[in-house]
Amino acid sequence: MQIVHVLGLSVYIMLQMAVRAEQRVGQPVLPGDVLLMPLQEGEQEEEENSALLALRVPSQTRLRMTCGPGLRQRGGSVLVTRSGILCHRIPVLYWVDSQQKRYVPVKGDHVIGIVTAKSGDVFKVDVGGSEQASLSYLAFEGATKRNRPNVQVGDLVYGQFVVANKDMEPELVCIDSCGRAVGMGVFGHEGLLFKVSLGLVRKLLAPQGEIIQELGKIYPFEIVIGMNGRIWVKAKTTQQTLIVANILEACEHMTAEQRKQVFAKFSDNMM
């Protein structure tokens, strides 16, 4: 009797936990949370009747949902696999935005790598992932078999992943599909490289993020931001470089108002 009762309890809990995905947008989710796929317009009223009924609605009537990082499809529902804030973009793109420190290569990401070895016709580049990325010497602007790029061990490179999946060695290039550098390549013989969390990098690079612009009003500086959590900055003097680096690190847990106050204080000091 006891076991039957316990099993009944657990099934009840599962049904209770399954919430429609759109109701959890902007809220923190944890691994093991079950989300129901969003419904089409006409289905809304039917859904109102009973949550249990919704579970049995065949999945083909639901919209095709795209699961981003931190979500996995499991039958007719979606399982959260990572803790973070559930985000949504029109039409039905869902993902979990989490704060991490370890980078996992993703195709198309722009990253800052450190050249660790030269072997034959490829460079080995440390990008902070589980494996070193390879970078062909031909993947630089204007490089030919005879005209090799001048890359030394220890140099910083800004490149883009063309191959990045869990089963293969990641591959970087420093040119776009037309063979132009568009800002990529070896850089930074001066300046400061430091590591921040991946959440902060995404915040800095977000289209509506104004941190860099606001900071640029205080000092002129050069900055390179890699999706792998590495940031390189260079200002006029070493002191200014350090200040910029410290402000960027501090921005992680500041709200927009707090940030404005800090920036205002700095601008006053500069006068």
Partner: protein, 214 residues
Amino acid sequence: MDRDCCLRVFACEQNLLSRPDGSASFLQGDTSVLAGIYGPAEVKVSKEIFDKATLEVILKPKIGLPAVQEKNQEQIIRNTCEAVVLATLHPRTSITIVLQVVSDAGSLLACCLNAACMGLLDAGLPMKSLFCGVTCALDSERGIILDPTDKQEKESRALLTFAIDSLEKKVLMITSRGSYSIEELQQCIATSQKAADKLFQFYRDSVSRKYSKS
């Protein structure tokens, strides 16, 4: 079933270490464990598994070198984590969980499991569900004692530690010492599942607090 589950006061802090990819410290009464998680990181060729991540648990005692008991507990924690972590998403990498015992005042294994889960959450490693550890002590007079202290553990007739997952409240792991009947085992499981609800709610609250800052 109607027994009210009285766990000791528990507390947790996430992301308190700067070097590891994820870290957490978990307190249960006077028992405290600090967890550091590294991964998915580079793996030694000898330990590489071609289709999944290599999970490694290192348990450091408060004083002295790890002995047989620690090695046994490492194995138990490793097996529990392996049941929950989606290791196939990061093949040929290593996930290392380092657990440092800060103070031991009973229910140490349960506290280690909780610290490991909070650390894995902080590191953002993919998991099927959460898990928690609950220890039950069986006493001849008072029946089941949840989350026993050092003294209660010593006086108990039997001591059972469970790992419970959050998805279906299923038992992931049982380790026990002493003698107990099947009914007592089932009662212990039911009590632990109730306690697990409290712990999972606490996990949710602490993660919400972490993400409310940004």
